[in-house]
């Protein structure tokens, strides 16, 4: 091969005209993404609350020092982890499993099932959450009636620190897995049929095909969906807020609901902002580490 100076790649000059074309996107990003983030970081460094509503000032890391020395933080972080991990490990694999079942070649009535499992997801969430709230009620709730029929004692589904988080995860599981089924369905369908057939002809049964063909092929997608499921659940506000309101005590408070509690129930805006910032930083670190190990972002290329 002939090498000459003609082939040396020159450093590109910045095209100023190009900036004009991306300017609208930059403006939208700046106002919708960066401005709120910087604003909340700023609030977390002030004494903005109901007392200093009109005249608040910079207080340095006082809010963070307060938060890190309070015993609530570690409880709330623990709750957030249990809530996010607990939900992710049940709903994401369940979605995957159902997607696999729904994509079987010989399965009949796929359209009917797809419509059916779309319901929990398509129905307004706050209504289903209210329905669940009734179902899990201590007296007269379907869940306890059912337990009584089977000869078990009633459970404090939502009102005991022991079961409240489990109930939340259960409801979240029920609400979320159709979404993951849908997402996985498109991933599973992207696998050419021939790859399965080649395995079948070579004597691979369903379990071995799953282990040797499907899972390795979808490695990145699975990582991506799991990690984003985790992030989404971490910030999933309305289930704990509507079902238990963080209670009993703070046993089901997660970072996002606790931040809301501080900011809007106690009008302690700067403290709420501090919790929000802690949440964002934790998630950011998590995504960077997770991406480093799974290279999941490559599916976006």
């Amino acid at each position: 091969m002939v090498e000459s100076e003609d082939y040396v790649v020159k450093k590109k000059k910045l095209e100023w005209k190009g900036i004009i074309y991306v300017l609208p996107a930059i403006i939208v990003l700046a106002f919708l993404d960066f401005y709120p983030i910087f604003e909340s970081v700023y609030y977390s460094l002030t004494d903005f609350n109901s007392v200093h509503f009109f005249k608040y000032g910079y207080v340095g890391l006082a809010n963070f020092i307060y938060v890190f020395t309070s015993s609530d933080l570690w409880t709330v972080i623990g709750n957030t982890l249990v809530w996010s991990i607990g939900s992710t490990v049940v709903m994401v694999p369940a979605g995957f499993l159902l997607a696999l079942i729904m994509n079987q070649k010989k399965m009949r009535g796929k359209t009917i099932y797809r419509t059916m499992y779309l319901f929990p997801w398509a129905f307004p969430a706050f209504i289903t959450i209210l329905v669940w709230s009734n179902m899990l009620a201590y007296t007269g709730g379907v869940a306890n009636e059912f337990l009584n029929v089977l000869g078990f004692k009633s459970l404090d589904w939502l009102t005991s620190p022991k079961y409240a988080m489990i109930s939340l995860i259960l409801v979240n599981f029920w609400l979320s897995f159709p979404y993951y089924t849908f997402v996985y369905t498109s991933a599973v369908q992207s696998i050419p049929q021939e790859l399965y057939e080649a395995a079948e002809i070579n004597g691979y049964g369903p379990i071995r095909t799953l282990a040797h063909v499907t899972l390795p092929l979808l490695r990145r997608q699975i990582a991506f969906i799991t990690i984003f499921g985790f992030i989404f659940t971490w910030n999933n506000f309305y289930i704990p807020f509507l079902l238990t309101g963080g209670g009993p005590g703070i046993s089901t408070e997660i970072l996002i609901t606790y931040s809301y509690l501080q900011a809007f129930s106690y009008s302690n805006y700067s403290l709420g902002a501090a919790y929000a910032v802690i949440s964002i930083v934790m998630l950011f670190v998590f995504v960077v580490v997770a991406n480093h190990y799974t290279k999941m972002m490559k599916i976006l290329d």
Partner: protein, 373 residues
């Protein structure tokens, strides 16, 4: 000995034709080609042999054992797919070893077999690459290696060359034939490409609309097509088909094509009324002369080694003629297409069935009987 037998095999589809009862026998060590246009049922037939498609009725035997309802893994069959079906996350080595991994085989033996087949296929240097990093032809070789490494009882190929460019396809045709003779594995090969069929096949069958139209060695299919479908499917450019009329006068038989009449010395018949027939002439047999069907040169297609001349007759029929490149015909040239009884095919107008081919008495007898009725 019959290796593979299909008996009245039927597959019904709601939307497509499917397979409407095919019978065929493939002999031990034979390279058998199923040829046909798209949608004729050839791939479905192959998939039924592989067990990827259920059989609605009929029987399939392999090595004198009925396998009709066997799952694919009990059939000991290998298959090469049109899009190679290689696993993108595995290296070439892992792809080739894939069929062996499931057999209870010592690891050293697996690796030895892989190395050996890779050497035969010229893949030794590529073993640690992934399918995304090698060319189409190399992928095809890996797919073949993966199919051959297991030493299957039967080898199935579903249009394996159709994704390659023309030059590579020609090369791989030679390679495939060599490999098949080397391994001596009975092979069933599906294609819509008549050149692949004629170059590769020991025997071939031509399918259309879910049925086998004709079976035999490729030369027979070309030389003695049973009907106009086979006649026009094999050969490029396709055989010219013109309407004609057959009649008897004073004990002699004549064929009239447009205004031109030739005496058919080979046909002896007593029929009273003239009969409409279809006349077939291969483009390479078309001769220009002083006497014949008047035509005008309409279009010339240059293929480099030869040219195709498209003539138009007075009635608007097209006659294609294959000629040497430096022929001096110009568009608009008028000439005469002379017809020789020895190079003619005559077909039934309604059914398209062959009724006459010079020197083939069998078809003439059948035709004469039809004429008397």
């Amino acid at each position: 000995m019959e290796k593979l037998v299909l008996q009245d095999v039927v597959k019904v589809f709601k939307k497509n034709v499917g397979v409407l009862g095919i019978n065929l026998e493939v002999r031990e060590g034979e390279f058998f080609v199923i040829l046909g246009p798209s949608g004729c049922g050839k791939t479905t037939s192959l998939r039924m042999i592989a067990g990827l498609e259920t059989v609605d009725s009929g029987h399939i035997f392999l090595d004198e054992r009925e396998i009709t309802n066997f799952p694919p893994k009990l059939r000991n069959i290998s298959m090469v797919f049109q899009n190679y079906a290689l696993y993108p996350f595995m290296t070439v080595r892992e792809n080739i070893i894939f069929p062996l991994k499931i057999l209870k085989m010592p690891k050293s033996e697996m690796e030895e077999k892989t190395e050996q087949i890779a050497k035969t296929m010229g893949l030794s240097d590529l073993l640690d690459r992934r399918p995304g990093e090698i060319s189409g032809g190399q992928k095809q070789r890996v797919a073949l290696a993966r199919a051959l490494v297991r030493e299957p009882s039967l080898f199935l190929m579903d249009e394996p060359l159709s994704n390659l460019d023309a030059k590579l396809r020609g090369h791989m045709r030679v390679e495939l034939k060599r490999l098949q003779k080397e391994f001596n594995t009975t092979t069933v090969y599906v294609t819509h490409d008549q050149i692949e069929a004629t170059t590769l096949a020991d025997r071939a069958c031509l399918m259309n609309n879910g049925r086998i139209v004709q079976m035999g060695n490729p030369n027979d299919l070309y030389d003695l097509p049973v009907d106009t479908f086979t006649a026009t499917f094999l050969g490029d450019p396709a055989m010219n088909i013109l309407p004609g009329e057959l009649y008897v006068e004073k004990g002699n038989t004549y064929l009239k094509i447009e205004d031109y009449t030739i005496k058919m010395n080979d046909i002896k018949t007593e029929m009273e009324h003239p009969r409409d027939v279809k006349v077939g002439i291969r483009p390479e047999e078309v001769q220009l002369g002083d006497d014949g069907i008047p035509v005008e040169l309409n279009l010339v297609q240059n293929l480099g080694k030869s040219i195709y001349e498209y003539f138009k007759t007075k009635n608007g029929e097209t006659i294609i003629r294959q000629d040497v490149v430096n022929s001096r015909h110009v568009l608009g040239d008028r000439s005469m297409v002379s017809v020789d009884e020895k190079s003619l095919y005559l077909f039934e107008t309604n059914t398209g069935g062959l009724i006459y081919r010079y020197g083939k008495k069998k078809y003439q007898e059948e035709y004469l009987q039809n004429a008397i009725n």
